[in-house]
């Protein structure tokens, strides 16, 4: 079992222990143990069916796990649901909005339910939240008339209304254009800087890599890796990279020497280049470069291309499809 080991010095804002969720015979989350440090933007990534939404629904008290423990900001979520709900701000997947309300009415209703003062105070708070998500101009629009990105932002504004200490956002960036994603990233960063914890899920790794300080990867209900982006890449065994050595001369000799080295594969020649796959560590790669030079090969350039996060996700998804 892989457990997260992030920022051990700080108390975790979200502490999940041995969480398991069953739907009849199907196990959606299997023995998940995870600690999300306070003040982080922490990402949870995985293909569809990885168990992200089930995990989030348990964190937000919307569902009871088969077993396991969940503590958010010192509150046992399964025992003190009401207390937990006051700490949490939850934005569900697809960010639904009621079709029969205007944006300000939607926010005012939630502000009223959370007891955020009288009508004037509620409207002021709603205006602040709309400003925070750059949607002040849409205050009087019908919720159903908003674009996907605007809807996401309205729901984020609703989530921020009661100033939750822990934000749980399920796929918040889906459907957002690059500009809106950048705004969202800034907004989340600002919240984290103010001491709040943001736990965010996505099936798009690159999106999370942009937004999160740390992340974890789930597949088929299990935690596969967690840590910083590089740590996750390493834990997933995704050290494979494509190296290209551009030589001035002796191309054939360079290729023969490289072919004898460990961790080198799929070698081919092109123009003045030797292109090959390499699965070794960063140290081994440095040694390889050093050896090539010592062997008397004159290099004009040495280029590295790593697998993208998207490639890693495809690998994970493939293993999900073919267990």
């Amino acid at each position: 079992m892989i457990t997260s080991s992030l920022s051990e010095s700080r108390a975790p804002a979200i502490d999940i222990r041995c969480l398991r969720v069953d739907y009849g015979d199907f196990m959606a989350v299997d023995d998940l143990t995870l600690a999300v440090p306070a003040g982080e933007v922490f990402g949870l990534v995985g293909p569809n069916g990885a168990g992200k939404t089930s995990t989030f629904r348990i964190l937000t008290t919307l569902m009871e796990p088969t077993y396991g423990e969940v503590v958010i900001d010192g509150v046992d979520v399964l025992e003190n649901m009401e207390d937990a709900r006051r700490i949490i701000g939850y934005m569900p997947d697809l960010a639904p909005v009621p079709s029969d309300l205007k944006v300000w009415e939607f926010l005012d209703f939630h502000a009223d339910a959370y007891g955020l003062g009288n009508r004037q105070q509620r409207r002021q708070r709603a205006a602040e939240c709309l400003e925070e998500v750059a949607l002040t101009g849409q205050r009087d629009c019908w919720c159903k008339e908003l674009s996907r990105g605007q809807t996401q932002r309205v729901v984020l504004a609703k989530t921020l209304l009661h100033r939750p200490r822990v934000l749980i956002l399920d796929e918040p960036a889906s459907g957002l254009d690059p500009l809106a994603r950048r705004d969202l990233r800034h907004a989340l960063r600002k919240l984290a800087d103010a001491g709040n914890t943001v736990f965010i899920s996505s099936h798009i790794l690159s999106e999370l890599a942009e937004m999160c300080s740390s992340l974890c990867v789930m597949n088929r209900g299990r935690l596969l890796a967690s840590g910083t982006v590089d740590q996750v890449r390493h834990q997933l065994g995704s050290t494979d990279r494509v190296l290209t050595a551009t030589v001035l001369a002796r191309q054939q000799e360079a290729a023969e020497w490289l072919a004898c080295q460990p961790a080198v594969h799929d070698l081919r020649l092109a123009d003045h280049k030797v292109v090959f796959g390499f699965t070794g560590t960063d140290d081994a790669q440095a040694d390889l470069l050093d050896g090539l030079i010592r062997h008397g090969i004159r290099l004009r350039a040495f280029e590295e291309k790593r697998s993208s996060f998207e490639d890693i996700l495809v690998e994970v998804a493939e293993s999900n499809r073919h267990p």
Binding site: A11, P12, D15, L62, P65, Y67, V97
Partner: protein, 566 residues
């Protein structure tokens, strides 16, 4: 972690402060917008105005007095009000709740810091707020008709109180349907179907000895009020017809129709509130807790008996007596023996059906049980609390089976030992048989559901409960020669057991010659088979629960979780 204290301290929205309820206010905002409301009110006012004007004009043009003419519009208005509140209001509630789930916003409502009671009240009065406005728009016309028609306050006040109380009952039905049904169209159809059934099918059960069900409608109070709200000539006819109807009796107590209707509907409303609050508190919770389900079952038994027993002596309980009152074709009426046996069987069947519904509600699924054991393990105990949703429903269904058998026995004994059938007795052994029937059918169902799940139960209902009855019925129609075979086949269905029990055990039963031997034998045989199967299923269930407990308690306890941030 966060140096700032949370801005939002615990909020308490009192359930009774409807006007301050955020959910109610949210629906006032969306459903009372001038455009939609204006059109609805306009249509309502036009219809109500037309009814009153037409009724009054027709009366004045005829030979009616001004007061009688004004009364002409009261019943059509009541009909319109019924459509607005009962049909449109209920459908709006059921559809609105499902729409919340379809749109996905129900999760927000689950998370907002309002008590389950406040949420229920918010939806109950908020979703149909436009229908309430439409109803209010008809009231001036009703008031004018009552005033001009000189209708006494003690006639219209109970009637309208019961209209409102019934509306609440149906709205709760819609709310529950909308909360439980997964699909908006289904919720709409189900709620309309339930209201329709409450008005047409369920009151028919009153004609078969189950008088209580009549009081789930406004019909008894409406019939009582008729002489006071109809024009004087029609009112006299209604008054004469009313004298033919039995008055409401509950054991030896006399109640007015309106009081007893409130009493009957109130219990159901209370049960609906409990169901809804449980669902709002925790989505996975059972609709009813085990003690409440058992208590509700006993309460229904008391109501059924309380209404039925006083009607046996005067003969009002028997369906043929109702016919006799209307047409008076027989000079000396007396109930037939078959009628009494059938009434006993129907009582047993309805009791069994109600028990199965409640058993379904309180029986935990495998997931429920696993969650219960998780909690037990966390709390360091090795057993589940008996009243928890995860605990077995076995013992409570057993209690219901015994209570149901006692109720059925008391009803049957009062029926058979009444003055209508002199010399007949119901020995105590019949109580033993009735208990065996309830235990075999009720506990068999419950243990199968708890140990094998809903799919197995569905198959059992089809192949053991329904198919034998259908095949047996076809056989019995083909030829009299097949009657004994058909009797054996039909007896295989637990649904037929109450009828077989009454037909086989009661001394007043006069079975047709073709089945006189087969029915008692089939009853005894199948009863024995079902008892054995139930015992086997109970043993399997016990073993399964033990294994699950062993497995869950054996999982090592996780380390202490962080409770307090430094």
């Amino acid at each position: 972690m966060n140096p700032e204290p949370p801005i939002n301290p615990p909020v308490r929205h009192a359930a009774w402060k409807i006007w301050a309820n955020p959910i109610f206010r949210r629906y006032c905002q969306s459903r009372l917008r001038p455009q939609g409301l204006g059109l609805a009110l306009l249509i309502t006012v036009i219809i109500a105005g037309f009814i009153v004007a037409m009724g009054s004009s027709l009366g004045v043009r005829g030979t009616m007095t001004t007061a009688d003419a004004a009364r002409n519009g009261i019943i059509p208005l009541l009909f319109v009000q019924g459509i607005i509140l009962f049909i449109l209001g209920t459908a709006q509630i059921a559809g609105g709740m499902t729409a919340e789930r379809d749109e996905g916003v129900i999760d927000y409502q689950r998370l907002i810091p309002m008590s389950p009671h406040a949420k229920v009240m918010g939806y109950l009065f908020g979703l149909p707020v436009r229908e309430y406005a439409m109803f209010l728009a008809t009231l001036p016309f009703t008031a004018w008709s009552m005033w001009r028609g000189q209708v006494a306050w003690n006639v219209w006040l109970p009637l309208y109180l019961i209209v409102m109380f019934s509306a609440l009952l149906y709205h709760f039905t819609g709310l529950l349907t909308g909360t439980v049904a997964r699909n908006r169209r289904w919720a709409f159809l189900l709620s309309i179907g339930l209201v329709f059934a409450l008005y047409t099918i369920i009151p028919q059960m009153a004609k078969f000895g189950l008088v209580f069900f009549k009081y789930l409608t406004i019909s008894p109070v409406f019939e009582e009020s008729l002489p006071g709200i109809l024009p004087s000539s029609a009112g006299a006819v209604a008054r004469a017809a009313q004298r033919l109807l039995p008055t409401v009796k509950f054991f030896n107590l006399d109640f007015s129709e309106s009081v007893f209707t409130v009493f009957s509907q109130g219990g159901l409303i209370l049960t609906f509130i409990v169901m809804l609050c449980r669902k709002w508190r925790r989505a996975e919770a059972h609709l009813l807790g085990k003690p409440w389900a058992a208590g509700f079952f006993v309460w229904i038994q008391i109501l059924l008996l309380g209404n039925a027993l006083p009607l046996i002596g005067p003969g009002d309980l028997f369906p043929s007596h109702g016919l006799y009152r209307m047409v008076r074709v027989m000079p000396d009426w007396a109930p037939t023996r078959d009628e009494a046996v059938l009434l006993s069987g129907i009582y047993g069947f309805v009791t069994l059906a109600l028990m199965l519904v409640l058993a379904t509600i309180i029986t935990p699924t495998a997931d429920n049980q696993l969650r219960g054991w998780r909690r037990a393990r966390k709390q360091g105990v090795s057993t589940l609390p008996h009243l928890a949703d995860a605990a077995t429903g076995f013992w409570f269904v057993l209690v219901m089976a015994v209570a149901g058998a006692v109720g059925w026995f008391l009803f049957t004994r009062a029926l058979v030992e009444s003055s209508w059938f002199p010399g007949h007795q119901v020995p105590l052994t019949v109580l033993g048989y009735f208990t065996a029937v309830m235990v075999a059918a009720g506990l068999g169902y419950q243990t199968l559901l708890e140990s094998k799940g809903g799919h197995a139960v569905s198959l059992a209902i089809i192949f053991v409960g329904v198919v034998p009855v259908l095949v047996g019925s076809v056989l019995s129609v083909i030829s009299d020669r097949f009657a004994p075979t058909a009797t054996w086949l039909i007896g295989m269905s637990p649904a037929s057991m109450p009828f077989y029990a009454s037909g086989s055990l009661l001394s007043i039963a006069e079975l047709p010659t073709q089945v006189s031997r087969a029915m008692p034998r089939a009853f005894t045989f199948w009863l024995l088979v079902f008892l054995l199967v139930t015992a086997w299923l109970a043993a399997k269930l016990l073993a399964k629960r033990k294994a699950m407990a062993h497995h869950m308690l054996a999982i090592p306890q996780v380390g202490p979780v962080t409770q307090d941030p430094p």
